[in-house]
Structures are given as C-alpha cells and as structure tokens.
C-alpha cells in the first residue's frame, strides 16, 4: 500500500466520521431544547424555573373566580348575555359565529374566545379594525380577566362571574 492510497483510505473513513461528528454536534447544540421537563418544559414554568429565569413568567396568575357569562356592554347588541360553557366562541358578523355581531365595524370572523385551564383567552382572527383588550390592540392570544372590557368594532364585551 503506497502513501497516497493510505491517505485516501484514512480520509475516506475520516469523512464518514466527520458526517457523524456533524450529526452529534447538531444534537449537542440543541440538547437544551430536547431536555423536556428540566429546561424546556411544555406548559407553565415551575416555581423553581420562574425564580431562576424570571422572563419565563409571562402571564397573570389564574383568576380565582371563573367566568360564567359573556355580557355585551356597548354597541348594537348591548345587554345581550351569553352563558359560557367549555367550548370556544367565535365573535364576528358571519352567520356561523357563536355571537353574531350586527356591527359594521366588526369583521366576518373577528375574534375567538377560548378556554384554557381555568381562564378564557381572546385571539384576533386577522380582523380589519382589530380587537382591543382593556384599550390595547391584541397581537396574540391573551387571557381575559373578569370585568376587563374587550372592544370589537363598536361592540364592547366583558366576562362576568
């Protein structure tokens, strides 16, 4: 076996080794994400995690009293109440909506109110005029606390116990 073929053989197996080094390097780089339960937990962070990484705590603590009704306080449908069960509610002008808003400033499928855990969340469905929770426009799903007004077009709704 001359020198060149020895080099070629070493490089040949070296290349296979390098491919696997690449694979394991990638796995090592993402192991932080793979350790579910310690550093990357699904769902809410534990108290210990929250102490170590305060940035993980993003949501308000859960409401003590659960919402039972949705009340329309302003707008064409003012006074309407809706009993809340465990299913999501679609708000908008579309006939398929759970609460059909007769409001020219609301979109067909305007927003969605859905339960998660003990709380209700509101999510804008790409409406034209936006959804406002306590005066701020929604950019993502946020929890709705009792008594906080949610404005959709000219309609304002609230959750009541």
């Amino acid at each position: 076996m001359n020198d060149l073929s020895l080099v070629v053989t070493i490089l040949r197996f070296g290349f296979l080794a390098l491919m696997w080094i690449m694979v394991f390097a990638v796995v090592a780089a993402m192991r932080r994400d793979l350790v579910i339960g310690r550093k990357a937990k699904v769902g809410a962070p534990t108290a210990r995690q929250a102490r170590r990484h305060p940035e993980l705590v993003e949501d308000a603590p859960p409401a003590k009293v659960q919402a039972r009704q949705l009340v329309v306080t302003e707008g064409p449908l003012a006074g309407t109440t809706l009993e809340l069960s465990g299913t999501p509610i679609l708000l908008g002008r579309a006939q398929e909506a759970t609460l059909v808003l007769e409001d020219d400033y609301a979109s067909g499928r305007h927003a969605r109110l859905f339960p998660q855990g003990t709380r209700w969340f509101i999510e804008d469905l790409g409406s034209t005029n936006g959804t406002f929770l306590g005066g701020n426009a929604l950019t993502r799903a946020l929890p709705v606390e009792l008594g906080v007004p949610v404005r959709i077009g000219k309609t304002v709704i609230e959750l009541r116990p």
């Binding site: 070629v8 053989t9 490089l11 040949r12 197996f13 070296g14 290349f15 296979l16 390098l18 491919m19 696997w20 080094i21 690449m22 694979v23 390097a25 990638v26 796995v27 780089a29 993402m30 932080r32 994400d33 550093k39 990357a40 937990k41 699904v42 769902g43 962070p45 990484h53 940035e55 993980l56 993003e58 299913t87 999501p88 679609l90 002008r93 398929e96 020219d104 400033y105 609301a106 979109s107 067909g108 499928r109 305007h110 969605r112 859905f114 999510e123 804008d124 469905l125 790409g126 409406s127 034209t128 005029n129 936006g130 406002f132 426009a137 929604l138 950019t139 993502r140 799903a141 077009g153």
Partner: protein, 464 residues
C-alpha cells in the same frame, strides 16, 4: 395547539461553529472526489468552496442582523446536505461528462441569495397571512403552467411538470408547495373553530359538515388533477399528504386522518385501475427483480441497479470515486440516495437521514414555540412537506414503496427544488426567530399588528 417555552438566547455563535463544521464536511467531500478520481485541485475547486462558504457566511451574518433569535442548527444542517449533494453530483459529472455540477452550483447560489432575500425583506411571517387567497390562486396558476402550450417543456421522463423559458427549465410545482402551505395555514387558522365545532358526532368520531369539507375536497381534486394531467404521482402524494397533516394539526381530530386515508384508498385504487402509468409503477415495484421487468423500458432496471449499488456499498461504502453509481439511470437526481449509499455506505446514508430528521424536528420545534396559529401551521406544513418528500423518494429508491419522481431535498440535482427548499429554510428560520424571541415589552419592537393600531382606532373603516 401546544406551546413550548425556553429561555431566549440568540446562539448565533453556536451556529457559526456548526457552519464551519458543515463547510469543512463539504470541502472534504469535494476534495475526496478530486483525489480519488485523479483530478488536480484546480481553481474551480477553490472557487466553488469559496462560493459556498461566502454565501453561507453571508446568510449567517444576515441572520445576526435580521433574525437574531432564529434556530442555530437549521442553516448548518442544510449547508452540509447541500455541499454533500454538490460533491456527489460533481463526482457523477466526472464519470459521465455531464455539466450538471456547474448548473447545481449556479442554482445553489441563486437559491441561497433568494433565501437571504426572504429573511431580509419579510419583516414578519404573519404578513403572509394577508395573501391567503392570492396564494391559492398562485398555486393553481403554477400548477397549470406546465400544461400551457408555448412554455410547457412537454413530457420529460413520463411527467409534464416542466416549463422552459429560453435555455432555462423550471418545475413550478416545487414553488406551489410553498404557496399551498401558506394558503392552508391562512385558511385553517381563521376557520379552525368552524371545522372543529360544527357537525354531527357519531360515536367517538366528530364528523365535519359537508361544506367545511370543501377545502379537503378541493385539495383532493387538485392532487387528482396533478395525477391525471401531469402524470406526476409523487407531487400528487405530496400535496394531499400536506393538506391532510395541516388539517389534522389545526383541528387535532382523528376523523380527518380517517377521511383522508379513505380518500387516498379510493383515489389509489381508482388510479391503479384507470391510469396506465400508475399501474405500471406499481407492477414494476411488486415485480422489481423479475428479469422481464428489469429489461423493459420504464421498467425496474433503475431501482434494481440502485439496489445493487447500495448492496455493493455495504456498511462503509466503497469511498468517493471507487464505486460505479454512474451506471444507475438518473443517478444524480432521483437516484442520488442510491449513489450515496454505494459510495458512503449505510453509515453515510444514515448520517444523512439523521441530518434530515434533525432539520424536520427543528421545523416542528419552531411550530411548537411560535405563538400564532398561522405560524404554527405554516412551520408544520413546510417541515412536513420536506419530511414527506424524503420519505416518498428514499422509500421509492429503497423499494419500500413504488418509486415516484420527487427530488431528494437539498441533495438532488435540480434547480427548482433547491430554490423552493431554500425558501422553505428561510421561512422556517423566520418563524423560529419569532418563536424564540423574548416577549417582554423592552425587547425589539413587536411586529406588524402593533404599529398601525392607534391610527386604526381613530379613523376606523367599515369592515368588508
């Protein structure tokens, strides 16, 4: 849909280290090809490695500025796969005297530049949601293009999926896979509740209403249309699989999977009975090792020579330049996995499968982390499209399922596939950036919807 939380860190330096490793791997692969086939290390070799390094480092720098929190492992994995593909295509060029390698270098450069442009100009992936129905229209146009006389490249290897403009040929169906994913993500994120809640319940199955089934049926018709008019079984499977998975992810209802599988069964049996090209594919698959089928035109010769090649490679492979992968028809595109299996062996092939699995897993991880339904669905759809494509073509080459003409993402010779897959990479990076970015108010300005709200609140317009 679930959500994962991790502490936000940019981790761009990790990406740089992995990128250097990936570039080293590509350079070594190309060097081995030259060494084993007695080529000198000419200017071409250094120029090509410099181009790949330059482009991927440019992409890395753009990520530092434009998507600081993007996933650190996606880019290195893709560069490693692409660089390896370039080496294998170059190796086959030397054996056959083709110039596919030059074209592949050109398309790689173009694709990386396109991906950089997407990361640079797309401020937020949610902007794409505004183009939900335009995407549907674009997909339909893209799928019809190869059938339009004048720009159609006609029937190539049994399928009418190419267009030819001047000297360039392109497969518009590859781009359609992105636009269709955008359409389905947009449509399903708005209509999820309707599909979820309306409809009758029979036993444990919640059946959707007929009119909510409409998009599913449109998807099915589109797949069947591709099968009938373009005679392209692979793309047809890809589109239908994509729709089925996205609807399932949006609704988490097993009934959609059952309906989808029923439609596949009906479509599959009907296609086997009606279309000769489907019948032929399946017959060739079942009787691959029958001498009568091996010799026949469009027979099983391709699959069988691929299988023999992989058998010749064994566990460790013959080494670059030592096997005979050039004897397989279409060795550098459809059958590139067989070429790699022969020269790098099972060990090398599994490393490649691991890289694919890691890429797809990172796409799903981005979907779990992002906070908007549209982004979740888009990331799942795009990564699943890559996964299904890998399964269909690698399964076909290894004779697990009938061989259909899909490209092996990032590896196979083919410009349109490279371009669309690099755009997918850019979109997934953008979504993972949104997913990993810290959410506190002091951070970088939150995108899109926040800026125009004050104006909108003051001068509202009646909604359409």
């Amino acid at each position: 849909m679930s959500q994962l939380q991790t502490v936000a860190k940019p981790r761009r330096n990790t990406e740089l280290l992995l990128l250097i490793l990936a570039l080293g791997m590509s350079a070594l692969a190309n060097a081995l090809v030259n060494l084993n086939l007695g080529r000198t290390f000419d200017n071409d070799f250094f120029a090509q490695i410099a181009i790949l390094a330059g482009l991927s480092l440019a992409f890395h720098m753009v990520l530092r500025f434009k998507a600081k929190y993007a996933d650190p492992v996606i880019l290195p994995v893709v560069v490693a796969l692409n660089g390896l593909g370039l080496a294998v295509i170059h190796r086959l060029d030397i054996a056959t005297g083709d110039t596919a390698g030059q074209r592949q270098w050109m398309w790689t450069s173009l694709a990386v530049v396109a991906a950089i442009a997407v990361v640079w100009f797309l401020r937020d992936h949610r902007i794409l949601r505004r183009y939900t129905y335009i995407s549907l229209l674009a997909s339909v146009v893209l799928l019809i293009l190869p059938l339009v006389p004048g720009i159609s490249a006609g029937n190539v290897n049994g399928a009418t999926v190419w267009i030819a403009i001047g000297p360039f040929t392109f497969q518009p169906g590859e781009i359609a896979k992105i636009t269709l994913a955008i359409f389905f993500a947009g449509y399903l994120s708005s209509n999820r509740d309707l599909i979820l809640l309306a409809g009758k319940k029979i036993g444990p199955l919640q059946l959707p209403r007929v009119r909510d089934l409409a998009p599913m049926i449109v998807a099915w018709l589109a797949s069947v249309g591709v099968l009938v008019f373009q005679r392209d079984l692979g793309t047809s499977i890809l589109f239908f699989g994509l729709f089925m998975v996205m609807i399932y992810v949006a609704t988490s209802r097993i009934s959609w999977i059952l309906i989808g599988l029923a439609l596949i069964a009906v479509g599959g049996v009907a296609a086997y009975q009606i279309f000769p090209h489907v019948t032929q594919r399946i017959d060739v698959w079942v009787n691959a090792l029958d001498p009568e089928y091996i010799g026949a035109p469009f027979g099983s010769g391709q699959i069988v020579s691929g299988l023999f090649g992989m058998a010749n490679g064994g566990l460790l492979g013959t080494g670059f330049g030592q096997g005979a992968p050039y004897s397989i028809p279409l060795a550098n595109s459809d059958m590139i996995i067989a070429s790699i299996g022969e020269e790098l062996g099972l060990v090398g092939l599994f490393a490649i499968l691991c890289l694919y699995a890691l890429f797809i897993a990172r796409g799903f991880r981005a979907a779990l982390g992002t906070r908007d339904a549209f982004g979740k669905l888009l990331a799942v759809g795009l990564s699943f499209a890559v996964a299904l494509q890998c399964f269909v073509i690698i399964g076909g080459v290894t004779r697990l399922i009938p061989l259909t003409g899909l490209t092996t993402p990032f590896l196979a010779a083919g410009g349109s596939s490279l371009l669309s897959n690099w755009i997918i990479v850019a979109l997934i990076l953008k979504i993972s950036d949104a997913a990993r970015r810290p959410i506190d108010v002091t951070g970088p300005p939150a995108p899109v919807e926040t800026t125009p709200t004050i104006d909108q609140a003051q001068k509202e317009v009646p909604a359409p």
